[in-house]
C-alpha cells in the first residue's frame, strides 16, 4: 500500500501532498519536512530507496523517490509494494503529466495543483494502483475536464483563454 505521495522542490516547498493514511495537519507538515531532509541529503548516484523517517512509520516503510530537475517525486510505501515497480509507476506518472501539460515544468504543477490531483486520482486510489495505462488515464481526465468546461456559463472576459469556475 502506498502511504503517501509527495512532490516538493529542491528547497522543500511542497507542490503536491496526498496522504492515504490519516495524520493530523501538523504531522503531515512534519512528514513533508522530514522526508525532504532525508531525500535532499542523498547523492546523485546512489540508489533510489530509503528507509522511511520516524514519523511515517520508520523502517517498515520505504521512501522511493526520483529527482527530476527541480522536483522530487517521493512515494512512501510499505513492504507489500515492489520497489522497482513503484519506480516505474513514478515514471509513468511523470510521463502522464508531461502529456497532459505539454512539456511539464514546475510552474505547471504550481498553478494547476487541482488538475494534478485529478490525474493522480485516476492512477492511485486508496493507496493502491488503479490504472497504469497512460492513454487510458489521459482519456478519462480529458473527458472530465470537458464536463467541467461545459458547465461554465459565465464567460470571464479577462480569462477568455481558459473558462473555468476555479
Amino acid at each position: 500500500m502506498i502511504k503517501a505521495i509527495l512532490i516538493f522542490n529542491n528547497h522543500g516547498k511542497p507542490r503536491l501532498s496526498k496522504f492515504y493514511e490519516h495524520y493530523s495537519e501538523d504531522t503531515e507538515q512534519q512528514i513533508i519536512r522530514e522526508t525532504f531532509h532525508l531525500v535532499s541529503k542523498r547523492d546523485e548516484n546512489v540508489c533510489n530507496f530509503l528507509e522511511g523517517g520516524m514519523l511515517i512509520g520508520g523502517s517498515d516503510n520505504k521512501l522511493i523517490y526520483r529527482h527530476y530537475a527541480t522536483l522530487y517525486f517521493v512515494f512512501c510505501v510499505d513492504s507489500s509494494e515492489s520497489e522497482l515497480g513503484i519506480l516505474d509507476l513514478i515514471q509513468v506518472f511523470v510521463e502522464t503529466l508531461d502529456k497532459c501539460f505539454e512539456n511539464v515544468c514546475e510552474l505547471d504543477l504550481i498553478f494547476h495543483v487541482d488538475k494534478v490531483h485529478n490525474i493522480l486520482a485516476e492512477m492511485v486510489m486508496g493507496g493502491m494502483v488503479l490504472e497504469t495505462n497512460m492513454n487510458e488515464i489521459i482519456t478519462q481526465v480529458d473527458a472530465q475536464n470537458k464536463m467541467e468546461k461545459s458547465e461554465v456559463r459565465i464567460f470571464d472576459h479577462e480569462n477568455s483563454q481558459s473558462p473555468s469556475y476555479i
Binding site: 547523492d43 487541482d114 490531483h117 486510489m125 467541467e148 476555479i166
Partner: protein
C-alpha cells in the same frame, strides 16, 4: 461583493511574498475573504474558494473551516463542484471528524448517478477515506458496481472493495460472488485491480485462499499471453507488455502457491519461462525478474528453479544500476537462511559490495556478510570485515563491531586469533563498541590462560599509542592490573617495560582528561593490584592516598578502602588481590536455579571469593566489602569491647554450583585465627532468586564444638 479572486491569482500573489511573515499575512487576508464568502452562502464561487483553501492547506495553514463547505459542494449538481468537493473531503476530512458521516447519503446517491464520472468520484472518495460505518452502509452499492460491464467503474469498484474489506473484514463474503468472472475481463485496468482484490482476500482469509487456488491455471494463462503477445502499444512500457500486471499476477501466484504443492507445480513452467525470457536491460524487466525470484523462493518450487533464482540474484549483484544491487541484497538476506549454500557461492560479490559508496547498499552487504560467515571462511571474511570496520561511517561501526565479536566467538579458529581480532576491533572502533563488550572481553581473556602474557603485552602497547578509546583503555588497565607481573617478568616477546613505566602509564590514565570516571576506577584498581605484583609498593601507596580526597565519590571510596587495606589489613592484601579465577559464563545453574550468583544484591557467604558473572573490577571492591561484612558479622557476636578478636581466611568453595534436589554439597573452608579463644558463632545469610523473585535466608550456627575454639 466582487467575485472572489481566482486560484491562480492567489497562487501568483503568494509567490511574490518574500518572507514567511508576508506570506502568512496574505493568506490570512484571503482566509478572511473566503470566510465571509462562505457566510454569504455564495453558490457560484464556492468551488473557487474551496480550491484556494486546499492550496493553502497544502502549504500548511489551517483549513478546517472549509469542511462543511466541501459537503455542500458534494451535494451540488454541478460536476465542477462535486470534483472539488470530493477532493476537499479526501484532503480535509477523515473518520475522526463526525462531519464525514454526513457525506454518506451524498455518496450513496452519487454511486447511482447517471454519469459515470460522478460515480467514479464517489467510489474514489469512499475508497480513500471511508470509515467503517460508511463502508458498512455502502458496501452493497459497491458490490453492485463490481458486477457492472463498464470497465471504468468496475476497476474503481474493485479497489473500493479492497478498502471496504480492510475496514470491515466481515464483509468479505459479500464480494465473493462478484469475483467469479473478474479474471475473464479483457481490460487491463480491471484485471489489475481484480488481482489486487483477490490478493487482499487471499491474504486475509485461509478459506478464501483455498477457494481461489483453482484460479491458478487462469492466472498462468493470462501471464503467458502477456509474455507471448508481442508488441501492444497501449500497455507497453519500455518494450514489455504491461509489467505492472505481470508483477501483480506473480505476487498473487506467490500467495497461492505458498504451501501448496499442486499449485506450485502448475506454476513452475511459467516461472521458468518468465525468468529466462525477460529482457533485463531496463528497470522494467528487472522489476519483473525480481518479483519472479521472490515468488520462486516462496513457493514449493523444485530445486533447479531455486538455483536459477539465486543465480539471477547473483547477476543482479553485478549490475551497474544501484537499485538492482539493492533489491538483490535485500532478497538474498531473506533467502540466506533457507538456501545458505547457494548464496555462499556469491560471497565474493557480496563482500565487494562492502566497498560501494552507497550507504543503503553497504548496510545490506554488511548484514549479509555476517549471515554468511561460517567455520570455513572465517579468516578471509574477518579480514574483509575488519577492513570495512576501519573505513566505514560511524553509523555502522557499532553494529559491525558487535557482529565481529559474535562471529569471532562462534567460529574462532584459535584463541590467539580471537584475541588478535578483538584487539583490532578495539583499536579501530574502540569508542563504538557496546557497553557489555568490556566484561565479555575480560572474561574471554581470563579464560585463555596461556595467552595472558601475549595479551597483556599487546594491550600495553596499544595503550601507549592511544588512550582515548575508553573500552580499550578499560580492558587494558584491567589486564595490566591482573597480569602486570607477566608484563615485566621477561615472558614477553619484545622489549619489556620496567615497573615504573607501567605505573606511569596507569597514573597517566588517572589524570588524563580523556578518561571517564569508570576508566579512572579501573585504573586505580589496577594500580592497587600491582602492589602485590610489583615491588614499588611505596609509590602505589602514595597514589592511592592522594585519591582518598578525590572529588569523584567512587574514586574516593575506592582510594580510602585501599588505603585501609594498606594500613590495617596489610596481611590480607595478597589474598584479596590475588589473580582472578576462571569465570563461568552467565551463571545459569540448571532447571532449579536456586543459587544464582548475583553480587549486585546483598552479599552471600558462598560468594566472597568468586566474583559474580558480570565481571567488572568494580566488583573486586565489592568482594572486599563482602569480606568485611562477613568479618563484622562474626565479630559482633563475640566480645563487643574488642571487636577485632578474630582473623579470618576464606578459602575457595569446592564448587560454584549447588546441585539441585540434595544431590550434592558445596564446602568452603574458613580458617579462623582466634588468639583470645572467644566463642565462635556464625551467622549465615543466603540471598538468591527463586522463579524470578528474591529470597533471603538467615541461619545461625551456635553449636561449634568447644574444641574448635578453645
Amino acid at each position: 461583493m466582487p467575485a472572489p479572486i481566482r486560484l491562480r491569482e492567489l497562487i501568483r500573489t503568494i509567490r511574490t511574498a518574500r518572507t514567511q511573515a508576508e506570506e502568512r499575512e496574505m493568506i490570512q487576508k484571503e482566509c478572511a475573504a473566503i470566510r465571509s464568502s462562505f457566510r454569504e452562502e455564495d453558490n457560484t464561487y464556492r468551488c473557487r474558494n474551496v480550491a484556494k483553501l486546499l492550496y493553502m492547506h497544502m502549504l500548511g495553514y489551517p483549513a478546517h473551516f472549509g469542511q462543511l463547505e466541501c459537503l455542500k459542494l458534494i451535494a451540488s449538481q454541478k460536476f465542477t463542484d462535486k470534483r472539488i468537493g470530493y477532493l476537499g473531503a479526501m484532503l480535509l476530512l477523515d473518520e475522526r471528524q463526525d462531519v464525514h458521516l454526513l457525506m454518506t447519503n451524498c455518496i450513496k446517491n452519487d454511486l447511482n448517478h447517471s454519469t459515470q464520472y460522478v460515480q467514479g468520484l464517489a467510489l474514489c472518495t469512499l475508497g480513500c477515506m471511508g470509515s467503517s460505518e460508511m463502508c458498512r452502509d455502502l458496501a452493497g452499492e459497491v458490490e453492485k458496481l463490481l458486477k457492472t460491464s463498464n470497465s471504468y467503474l468496475r476497476k474503481k469498484a474493485a479497489l473500493c472493495a479492497v478498502h471496504v474489506i480492510r475496514k470491515v473484514p466481515e464483509l468479505m463474503e459479500m464480494f465473493l460472488p462478484a469475483t467469479k468472472n473478474l479474471l475473464s475481463e479483457k481490460n487491463h485496468g480491471v484485471l489489475h485491480t481484480s488481482v489486487v482484490l483477490l490478493t487482499e482476500m487471499c491474504e486475509r482469509s485461509p478459506d478464501m485462499l483455498s477457494h481461489f487456488r483453482k484460479l491458478v491455471p487462469q492466472l498462468v494463462r493470462i501471464l503467458k499471453n502477456l509474455i507471448m503477445s508481442g508488441y501492444s502499444p497501449e500497455h507497453d512500457v519500455s518494450g514489455i507488455s504491461d509489467p505492472f500486471l505481470q508483477v501483480r499476477i506473480l505476487r498473487l501466484l506467490r500467495i497461492l502457491g505458498r504451501s501448496d504443492d499442486d499449485s506450485s507445480e502448475a506454476m513452475n513452467d511459467i516461472l521458468a519461462q518468465v525468468a529466462t525470457n525477460t529482457e533485463t536491460s531496463k528497470n522494467v524487466g528487472n522489476a519483473i525478474l525480481y518479483e519472479t525470484v521472490l515468488t520462486i523462493m516462496d513457493i514449493k518450487s523444485e530445486s533447479g528453479l531455486r538455483v536459477l533464482a539465486i543465480n539471477i540474484l547473483g547477476r543482479f549483484l553485478l549490475n551497474n544500476d544501484k537499485n538492482i544491487r539493492y533489491v538483490a541484497l535485500t532478497s538474498l538476506l531473506k533467502t540466506v537462511q533457507t538456501d545458505h549454500n547457494a548464496v555462499q557461492r556469491h560471497r565474493s560479490t557480496i563482500v565487494d559490495c562492502l566497498k560501494d559508496l552507497d550507504v543503503s547498499i553497504k548496510r545490506r552487504a554488511m548484514e549479509l556478510s555476517f549471515a554468511l560467515v561460517n567455520g570455513n571462511n572465517i579468516r578471509g571474511m574477518m579480514k574483509e570485515l575488519l577492513y570495512f570496520l576501519d573505513s566505514c561511517d560511524p553509523e555502522f561501526k557499532a553494529d559491525c563491531a558487535s557482529g565481529v565479536f559474535l562471529a569471532a566467538e562462534k567460529y574462532a579458529p584459535s584463541k590467539r586469533w580471537h584475541i588478535d581480532t578483538i584487539m583490532r576491533v578495539l583499536t579501530t572502533a574502540g569508542s563504538y563498541v557496546r557497553d557489555d563488550s568490556v566484561p565479555n572481553l575480560i572474561q574471554l581473556i581470563t579464560n585463555s590462560v596461556e595467552m595472558h602474557a601475549y595479551t597483556v603485552q599487546r594491550l600495553y602497547k596499544a595503550l601507549l599509542d592511544d588512550i582515548s578509546q575508553q573500552p580499550l583503555v578499560q580492558v587494558s588497565s584491567w589486564c595490566i592490573g591482573e597480569y602486570g607481573d607477566l608484563l615485566v617478568s621477561g615472558q614477553c616477546e619484545e622489549e619489556e617495560p620496567i615497573q615504573d613505566e607501567v605505573l606511569d602509564v596507569l597514573e597517566g590514565l588517572l589524570v588524563s582528561n580523556l578518561s571517564t570516571p569508570v576508566t579512572r576506577g579501573y585504573a586505580l584498581t589496577a594500580i592497587m593490584k600491582l602492589s602485590t605484583r610489583f615491588s614499588s609498593v611505596n609509590r602505589i601507596k602514595k597514589v592511592v592516598s592522594i585519591y582518598g580526597s578525590s572529588i569523584d565519590v567512587e574514586l574516593q571510596q575506592r582510594a580510602v578502602e585501599y588505603n585501609a587495606l594498606f594500613k590495617k589489613y596489610d596481611h590480607m592484601r595478597p589474598a584479596l588481590l590475588e589473580r582472578m579465577p576462571i569465570m563461568e559464563k552467565t551463571a545459569t545453574n540448571g532447571p532449579t536455579e536456586i543459587v544464582q550468583t548475583n553480587g549486585e544484591t546483598e552479599p552471600s557467604v558462598l560468594d566472597t571469593k568468586h566474583p559474580p558473572p558480570v565481571t567488572q573490577p568494580a566488583n573486586q571492591v565489592r568482594t572486599l566489602k563482602q569480606f568485611w561484612y562477613l568479618h563484622s558479622v562474626l565479630c559482633c557476636c563475640s566480645d563487643p569491647v574488642s571487636p577485632w578478636t578474630f582473623q579470618l581466611q576464606l578459602l575457595s568453595p569446592s564448587s560454584n554450583v549447588v546441585p539441585a534436589l540434595n544431590q550434592g554439597t558445596v564446602t568452603q573452608v574458613i580458617r579462623v585465627l582466634n588468639p583470645q579463644k572467644q566463642q565462635l558463632r556464625m551467622r549465615i545469610k543466603l540471598t538468591y532468586t527463586h522463579k524470578g523473585s528474591p529470597v533471603q535466608d538467615l541461619a545461625e550456627v551456635n553449636n561449634f564444638p568447644p574444641q574448635s575454639w578453645q
